[in-house]
Subunit: 301 residues, 2 copies
């Protein structure tokens, strides 16, 4: 699992900072999460093979998370894309994109499939045999979801050495991989656990932005390996959180602690602060494993 931060600053794009967008590589998928203005340039800058993106997950319809999407959709068209593109996002996203394409008389030559969300509880947004994506209902000024990306628990793998030691016929291997017990050459039943090895660990990533401090999300993201939680403000500006519906770095740390996350990544920094290191220092007061997102930074699990 590999997370590339394309942009992680709040509000307006500036010369050297970009609004929210991330690419998550997980089990052969390349998922795009949010798409602020300039995302397609960031994708090029960091040499992401972005034609591989088939699913885009949009948290909410504020410009700094969304205004790069029409341009990216148009660019896919100019590049001759043929593969389906799936857009997951709040209700209204289809109307907006459709209107912009209509005004430009620029219909895509590839299928554009919208999956509009309006549920107030966590729902399954995407699933295949390796990965599932759940929404994380957040509390922001407009309807907003975070997303939880979770590798499915893979099956235990066959322990060839053990199978040979017990004299298990090869014809049984497929059934054992699916969980069946084996029958040895002596006719004895051998428990599946003895013939298989533990599966590789399944990883998970939760993207939570934008949101006020909301403990309701803790059960959804419990035990997540990597948690990106917005920290627009420091505690010195905590009075701004109620009106703007954002969080402080300390609150992000508190959520990470309650969720027993493996690691916390901070982002969505207000540009009023001189140094983002201040955010890390503050969050460390509430949670021990804190990393700072920054444009172009990569996190691997």
């Amino acid at each position: 699992m590999r997370l590339t931060i394309l942009g992680c600053y709040a509000a307006t794009p500036r010369t050297f900072t970009n609004p929210t967008s991330q690419v998550l590589e997980i089990q052969n998928h390349l998922f795009l999460i949010d798409c602020g203005e300039g995302t397609q340039v960031q994708l090029r800058k960091y040499k992401i093979k972005f034609s591989r993106i088939k699913h885009i997950f949009i948290s909410h319809l504020h410009g700094d998370h969304f205004f790069g999407l029409p341009g990216l959709i148009s660019t896919f068209m100019l590049l001759g894309r043929e593969a389906e593109l799936h857009i997951h996002g709040p209700k209204g996203i289809k109307e907006a994109i459709t209107l912009l394409l209509k005004l430009g008389d620029s219909w895509t030559n590839y299928p554009l499939v919208f999956h509009e969300l309006q549920e107030r509880t966590s729902v399954l947004a995407f699933e295949d045999d390796k990965v599932e994506v759940h929404t994380i209902p957040l509390d922001h000024r407009i309807y907003t979801n975070g997303y939880l990306f979770r590798e499915k628990q893979p099956a235990r793998t066959l322990d060839i050495g053990a199978a040979k030691r017990y004299g298990i016929a090869m014809e049984q291997y497929a059934a054992i991989k699916k969980g069946a017990d084996g029958i040895s050459v002596k006719g004895e039943t051998v428990a599946n656990q003895r013939l298989t090895l533990p599966p590789p660990r399944a990883h998970s990533y939760a993207f939570c932005s934008d949101t006020t401090y909301k403990e309701d999300i803790v059960p959804i993201i419990k035990g997540v390996d990597l948690l990106y939680h917005e920290s627009t403000f420091l505690e010195t500006e905590s009075h701004l959180c109620a009106r703007t519906k954002h969080s402080t770095a300390r609150q992000a740390g508190q959520i990470a602690g309650l969720a027993e996350a493996g690691q916390l990544i901070l982002g969505h920094y207000s540009t009023r602060y001189k140094s983002i290191e201040l955010f890390r220092q503050e969050a460390l007061g509430a949670f021990p494993l804190v990393e700072l997102a920054d444009d172009g930074k990569v996190f691997e699990l």
Copy 2:
């Protein structure tokens, strides 16, 4: 008059090239012409005091001329703008911007005034006592206008030295500035021409992008000082012009010649070419004074 090119490449934004946008400083106005994705970052990069922009002129609703506008409007809001912002552009632009603001529940705290265009002939888009802006109907895949920016011919200025030599009473100065003749101390009429100096020359700039070769625009832009005419292709790709409704560099030169322009600026280059110098060489075959637009370049008159 000062023209700053913020972006002048066709189609998709790339790491080091930007889609169409320009700033024209003329008679205390700061006009923005087109607004491709990333325009607000370019405005910051080139240190344009963009809060001074009160009028934005959009040629057409293809993404590479327009997708930066929602973000710029939002940024003005975040910066606490209070002054009116006027958007001139094709019919539909109001619906698009309004929908995007509605979805983000992000109404501007300053008045946003739309001036939608659908005329097929040249119309006056803006006028004050110093400047007028006319549309230039172009021929592209969708409804498109260029814009002609013209300083009004200023009045002749009072020649104080001459007025004193003829013994003209100061009470007459205001009337003389408005064109009246003077009366000397001897009671003789002195022609206005003898008491005034020729006015500074009025300048003009025409922006013509995107368009196929269209001689109909020549009477509108006749004698223009500075002509920006798109040259998406070279003649080697002229077969693409009919379908895409773009021009070659040679055709841009031909229009400049017919219009007796003072100078031609080329732009809107297809990114298929290795060097934009090829465009200049080709246009020079049809017109002698050719400059190349490039991101960040400034032209002064």
